[in-house]
């Protein structure tokens, strides 16, 4: 087996992915409701409630400002939580990974399959949310359809982040730390509900450097407002590079954890 984390990944990753898809489809009622309900609640409370006190942000109405953030946050949550709590349950309590690696599938493929699945879940959520946002008239068509494929890339990023934490967490409760100390601040300070530019410059730089959600919000906002600029290249390259590094890192950490 190679030293390189990605060596030995074959198309069997889709068999691992497929197991999760099958389980998801079995319980589709519970899985399909949240992405419909969530944007309703946020748009009503923040967009049309709180938003009535806010004229416009950079010439954009408040509901239109937060709509791409809602998708980004949902993408983050669905991929991150899938590859932390859910993956941890499969790995630790149910020994599903052990069962799979007794077949010709290797641990690298199991982890890659889990991450692809986390990204798929993000894509599904984005695809389900989009019609709601369209119905409210807060996103531009047809270009906003692009948030769906982009959700997969952003999903890979948050799934890989989640999998790194899963690989090093001593227990399921300890996963609360990254959830509260990393994910929650990201939810608030990534240009989601107010523009990053309101923050002191130093905080802006820190946010851009270490809060992945800032780049995801930036891309999604460009898409839903049809306001593309060269900054997007920077966001996309940042997302791509960090995703690749964390994807490989998570596989390496998981190997170390599971292959004693």
């Amino acid at each position: 087996m190679g030293r390189f984390a990605a060596a030995g990944i074959t198309c069997s990753v889709w068999r691992v992915w497929r197991r999760n898809w099958d389980a998801f489809v079995k319980t589709y009622q519970v899985n399909f409701i949240p992405p419909f309900v969530e944007p309703f609640l946020y748009l009503l409370a923040l967009g049309f409630g709180l938003g009535t006190y806010i004229e416009t942000i950079d010439g954009v109405s408040y509901p239109r400002f937060i709509a791409p953030a809602l998708i980004s946050v949902s993408v983050m949550y669905s991929a991150f939580f899938e590859c932390t709590y859910s993956s941890f349950v499969r790995m630790y309590y149910r020994k599903t990974f052990d069962a799979i690696i007794a077949t010709p599938i290797g641990i690298e493929e199991v982890i890659a399959g889990e991450i692809l699945w986390g990204a798929t879940r993000a894509l599904i959520y984005a695809a389900l949310m989009l019609p709601v946002l369209v119905a409210f008239g807060v996103v531009d068509l047809p270009v906003s359809v692009l948030v769906v494929p982009f959700a997969f890339l952003a999903g890979l990023l948050f799934a890989s982040i989640g999998m790194c934490f899963t690989a090093i967490t001593p227990s399921i409760d300890a996963l609360n730390y990254p959830s509260f100390l990393f994910i929650t601040p990201m939810f608030l300070f990534s240009g989601t509900f107010f523009p990053l530019s309101l923050l002191p410059p130093i905080v802006q730089y820190i946010a851009l450097a270490v809060l992945p959600l800032t780049h995801v919000v930036s891309v999604n906002r460009a898409i839903t407002l049809t306001a593309f600029s060269p900054i997007l290249y920077f966001d996309l390259i940042w997302i791509g590079a960090v995703t690749l590094v964390l994807f490989l890192l998570s596989i390496r950490l998981m190997r170390r954890r599971l292959i004693a």
Partner: protein, 318 residues
């Protein structure tokens, strides 16, 4: 990376034809703990081979190295003539595994557990479904096909795990305590199935704490303790070699111990009995009755359990 000896086995050095597993000085360390301490053994094609040993002896660790899921830290290990380090996929393709800990998938029914597992082996859907039905029938679970795992009893889950291990029609089956926690009926059923699998030409490797099970099923077995193999042989040969044909048990009193000491026989003392290992039980009993001030005396055929306790000692292990 391949090395030359992966490609070609000189006849005098290569595994004997028919050896499915060959371990030579196999070692596994976890940090400072030596879980498997340079053991050598080989498993022949078509036999049922047992691993016995107290808790923590290293049985599961050995099984996991054979399954290519836990890398060895020393020695060599070949399965089907292939190195476990370099050919895990090829080996695992022909392996069926019953793990010590149940790891059925609780999101799915019994039937789906089999078909999803079949997919991991790349078995096409139609074939997987046919095979799943056959195997459920074989393990007498066809009525439970649509049940989710949590509704199955412990015995049914164990049978389902065995069915799952057979989904890829493996040539070698590794069973880590296949009958753990089962009632006598379920154990007999599983024994029957394992023998049927052997009769079809499969090779089986199992670990167990039930010595009667090992004596019934295994053609050959090893007894491990603290990572080392203590003895190897057929159950009958081990009993004959290490204990004799019979055991005479006498109540443990100082008089009896002193008296037996003078008899020139092999014996062990337990908390409340003295166990004399012998091939001439009548003579021993007569001497005891005649010459010693004795309490209760019984004679019985020797079993694998006597060998096990004799070799691994009587005190409880951690």
């Amino acid at each position: 990376m391949f090395r030359e000896h992966d490609m070609y086995h000189p006849p005098e050095e290569g595994p004997v034809i028919g050896d499915v597993i060959v371990a030579d000085n196999l070692e596994k360390r976890f940090g400072n703990v030596v879980a498997v301490d340079r053991v050598s053994f080989s498993v022949r094609e078509g036999e049922i081979f047992g691993f016995l040993g107290p808790n923590g002896a290293g049985k599961t660790t050995t099984m996991k190295m054979i399954q290519c899921v836990s890398p060895k830290t020393g020695g060599t290990l070949r399965v089907f003539g292939m190195d476990v380090d370099t050919h895990p996929r090829e080996i695992k393709r022909h392996l069926g595994v019953v793990p010590q800990e149940n790891n059925l998938d609780p999101d799915f029914t019994a039937f789906q557990n089999l078909t999803i597992y079949a997919r991991y082996f790349g078995i096409p859907r139609r074939e997987a479904e046919e095979r799943a039905m056959e195997l459920l029938e074989f393990m007498q679970l066809e009525e439970k096909s649509a049940m989710v795992i949590e509704k199955l009893s412990g015995g049914m889950r164990r049978r389902l795990i065995i069915a799952r291990a057979l989904i890829n029609a493996p040539k070698l089956l590794i069973l880590d305590e296949p009958t753990i926690g089962l009632d006598p009926q379920a154990r007999h059923l599983i024994w029957g199935k394992l023998r049927a699998l052997q009769a079809e030409g499969n090779t089986l490797v199992l670990t167990t704490h039930y010595l009667d099970e090992a004596a019934r099923l295994c053609d050959r077995l090893v007894i491990m303790d603290r990572g080392k193999i203590l003895v190897e042989g057929s159950p009958e040969a081990l009993v004959r070699r290490h204990v004799g044909t019979d055991i005479v048990e006498a109540e443990r009193t100082p008089d009896v111990v002193a008296c037996i000491d003078g008899m020139g026989v092999r014996y062990d003392v337990t908390a409340d009995t003295v166990q004399i290992y012998t091939n001439e039980p009548e003579d021993v009993v007569r001497t005891l009755l005649d010459a010693c001030r004795h309490g209760a005396v019984t004679a019985r055929p020797a079993t694998l359990e006597d060998v096990f306790l004799k070799l691994t000692g009587r005190p409880l292990r951690e």
